[in-house]
């Protein structure tokens, strides 16, 4: 059976997410090596823009829309569409390793018994199927994993694949919705919180405040540095748990996985759960008073010092050089 590889698109603010462009690039790349075909899926109440974007990456995009989707959680609906596509010959499904992607993957594993290759940093096609590489145990090891049958699921971490559009745009085909695989929860309200950001994964510079920032006021320094470096301010679990910073800014295993060109950690100890979320960064710079902080093991530059002295001095130095 030729491989038919489905890329599941996710939408934010009406647009296809960056991770979904990586998912689609991977699905197409795997299909090319396998001698099979790739297709995409978008399920949304307003799917048109994202469907067009997805069609730039794969030769065929299936669009499912329904007014009911506006007020309901998407995952059981998306899983319903994928169950139908599996019955029509889809062999492999690639999703982003996001909350929605994992919910959908879990539902499909539960219903079909398919194998799941979780948290791929990259994937290739070898012999009869996909092989993923995944950083595990907080970066202590990298595993190569494969499926033992001719079908299965992959969840892809952000930043592991470079998105690349196909030579020609694909066709978009609209379908009637399938039944959700479970009763869908209804959405009563969508609440935006002050200080929440959506662009952590896309930022080329991420400045993170750890326990050492000491207070919500201390986070202002993190934001200052992020601004002067043209980046985004994030936080560790400790500073989120302390209530200094909203959860949406958390970098780590629970939270966002970032791979910026520059990661700057202020008062970050570098616990395993945090390292999972940032160790793929290009350059890692850390400011900490504790020479034994675990982040020293992975920092390209470790500044032993008080972040409240080094931070403002760094802001001043960058401004001075730009001015001079």
């Amino acid at each position: 059976m030729p491989a038919t590889i489905l890329a599941v698109g996710e939408i934010a603010d009406g647009r296809l997410t960056k991770l979904s462009t990586e998912v689609a690039t991977l699905a197409r790349g795997l299909a090319e090596v396998a001698g099979g075909t790739a297709l995409g899926l978008v399920v949304d109440p307003a799917p048109d823009a994202a469907a067009g974007q997805l069609a730039a990456f794969v030769p065929r995009v299936i669009v499912v829309t329904s007014p009911a989707l506006t007020g309901e959680v998407a995952a059981p609906h998306v899983a319903g569409e994928i169950v139908r596509l599996l019955s029509e010959g889809v062999t492999h499904v690639v999703l982003g390793a996001t909350t929605d992607g994992r919910d959908i993957a879990g539902m499909l594993v539960g219903l079909t018994g398919m194998g799941m290759l979780a948290n791929a940093d990259e994937a290739s096609w070898a012999d009869e199927g996909p092989v993923i590489r995944s950083s595990v145990l907080g970066g202590k090891a990298v595993t190569n994993s494969a499926l033992t049958s001719g079908s299965g699921l992959i969840t892809l971490r952000p930043g592991g694949v470079t998105a690349e559009e196909a030579a020609a745009a694909g066709v978009v085909e609209t379908r009637e919705p399938s039944a959700p695989v479970t009763p869908a929860a209804i959405v009563l309200d969508r609440v935006a919180e002050a200080g929440a950001v959506v662009s952590l994964e896309d930022a080329s510079v991420v400045v993170v405040g750890g326990r050492g920032i000491g207070s919500a006021e201390g986070f202002a320094l993190v934001e200052d540095l992020a601004e002067v470096l043209g980046g985004v301010a994030g936080a560790t679990r400790a500073s989120v748990d302390a209530g200094w910073v909203p959860y949406s800014r958390q970098v780590g295993q629970t939270g966002r996985v970032v791979k910026p060109a520059l990661y700057l950690g202020l008062g970050v100890s570098g616990a395993m759960q945090h390292r999972v979320g940032m160790q793929g960064s290009g350059a890692i710079v850390a400011v900490n008073r504790d020479r034994d902080a675990p982040i020293a093991e992975i920092a390209d530059l470790f500044v032993l010092g008080d972040l409240f002295e080094v931070g403002p001095a760094l802001v001043a130095e960058i401004r001075a050089r730009r001015g001079g």
Partner: protein, 261 residues
Amino acid sequence: MRIVVLTKPVPDPDARAERLGPDHRLDRAASPTVINGNDEYALEAALQLVEAHGGEVVILSMAPANGTETIRKALSMGAHRGILVTDPALAGADMPTTIRVLAAAAATESFDLLLGGLDTSDGAAGAVTAGVAARLGVPLLSAAAAIEPDPAAGRVRVRRLSTKGYDLIEAPMPAAISCTQALGAPRYPSLRGIMAARSREIVILSLNDLGGDLAPAGGAWATTVLAVDLPPARAAGRVISGPAADTAREMVDFLASRGLV
């Protein structure tokens, strides 16, 4: 209300001793074992809900035989009883098998809510609670930051973390909920709790007890680890210290050398 909490014993991340064995599986003897962090948030939420609404908290684990130790800890925090599914045929179980087994065991309890962690610190696939929900045909409310059941109406509301804040979502019970740290820190076992836990029941079930073909014969799992490598080594970093103005200058020199400023 009856709340089943899925709890997985995992290597203690703080011990930083996790490793894979020669069989490419987690070496469970290499590290002390704790309740998975996100499962502890689920447990704390369950305990608070039962304190407010009445009922019981049932711990459900699939683990080696010493999984009773982490269940006992959950009982000492206030959970009422435990179920451990343990079977030599489940060593190294894959995701479909784990979901099938946990769903079959959860189905023996007529629960109002089934709570699990958003993901685990060792496997980290983050798919088990959703898989169990789908097998049992109950709605999934994922990434919970707050859980508000209305037992009289038979419904539950959840604040679901989003990239911008949260979505307020609602579903009929029984329902499954995946839980995050935003639910709040777990309590420590009290001395009284530790004493009380000694007499609380842990039912131990084998695959036979659950019935049906839940695990493939001979460990023919759906996925396999082909190889384990060490991560690419990062070049030894530089350590600097001194007056802030000097270190700041060195930092900008470093950033400039990498084209980052």
